[in-house]
């Protein structure tokens, strides 16, 4: 389980690297264009994160951190539980 999860994470991180290297272009210009385009984009998720001066971006970040820590601790808890059963 741990092995499979590690491989999955490895692949997940390698994909953006290859994608980023593949598109070597003028960073600032491209980002400006995309930002401009996205600021006018609509869609429920996009509108939600941009509402109230983008405060929900900070909220989303807190949710990510909370979820990651809890998942890690739950995994550790399960392992300790397994150890307790063995003894």
């Amino acid at each position: 389980m741990a092995k499979r999860l590690s491989y999955l994470l490895l692949v997940c991180l390698m994909l953006p690297i290859t994608a980023a290297i593949a598109q070597a272009t003028d960073t600032a210009r491209v980002v400006n264009e995309v930002v401009q385009q996205q600021n006018t984009e609509t869609g429920p998720v996009n509108e939600f994160f941009r509402s109230n001066n983008k405060i929900y971006v900070a909220v989303g970040i807190l949710v990510i951190i909370f979820t990651c820590i809890i998942l890690y601790l739950v995994r550790l808890d399960r392992r300790i539980g397994k150890l307790e059963k063995e003894n």
Partner: protein, 199 residues
């Protein structure tokens, strides 16, 4: 809630800095603990050092992944893309991949001493790459991250006083949380290897 300067299209999302940055500080601390223990293991051949090195690297990766994901979300609504062509984001992804390779490398051994020795050497190389990749190279080129191509953001004049006032305690707090999770994991691993470590 403190007042943060509103610059450009960052708006209130600027508050994300209070959570995004401490992740990296915590990660650096944990990886430093890890490499110190790895070198210590190579010097003494004490398996308990290897347990500490691998535990702190594992928790360091957790914090690195959290920092990366929070950065991805932040970038989506300020830079206009989840993965943009930012040197810091790219090099961080490379550095994190190296550390994940360390964890995967450890899983590929059955012999404890061999695993400890090879992964300790790998860890030293990983740390030697981490600092230039995430700290030096992004400062030499143009980046979307603030503080690039100049001195580090939090020690120069770039960061507003109110932000610093919250950031420093946040660094300490998150780093201590990281160290606490690392000690929990190290204690668990020591229990698993109890018979070998004290036998």
């Amino acid at each position: 809630m403190i007042k943060v300067p509103v610059i450009g299209n960052n708006q209130q999302a600027a508050r994300s800095i209070f959570f995004h940055l401490p992740m990296w500080m915590s990660m650096y601390t944990l990886f430093t603990i890890s490499v110190v223990n790895s070198v210590w293991y190579l010097a003494t051949n004490d398996l308990r050092r290897d347990v500490r090195a691998s535990s702190s690297a594992s928790v360091g990766v957790l914090f690195g992944v959290m920092g990366f994901f929070t950065g991805m979300l932040w970038a989506t609504y300020t830079w206009g893309g989840t993965i943009v062509n930012d040197p810091k984001q790219m090099t961080t992804a490379i550095a994190l991949t190296i550390y994940m390779a360390y964890l995967v490398l450890r899983l590929s051994f059955t012999d404890l001493d061999k695993r400890a020795r090879v992964s300790a050497i790998f860890n030293v190389f990983a740390f030697a790459l981490l600092i230039p990749l995430t700290y030096i190279i992004p400062r030499m080129v143009e980046s979307l991250h603030p503080g690039s191509a100049s001195s580090p953001g939090f020690s120069s004049q770039d960061t507003a006083g109110t932000i610093k006032m919250v950031l420093w305690p946040a660094f300490i707090g998150w780093t201590l949380l990281g160290i606490w999770i690392y000690t929990l994991r190290a204690r668990y691993k020591r229990l698993v290897l109890k018979n070998i470590l004290h036998g």
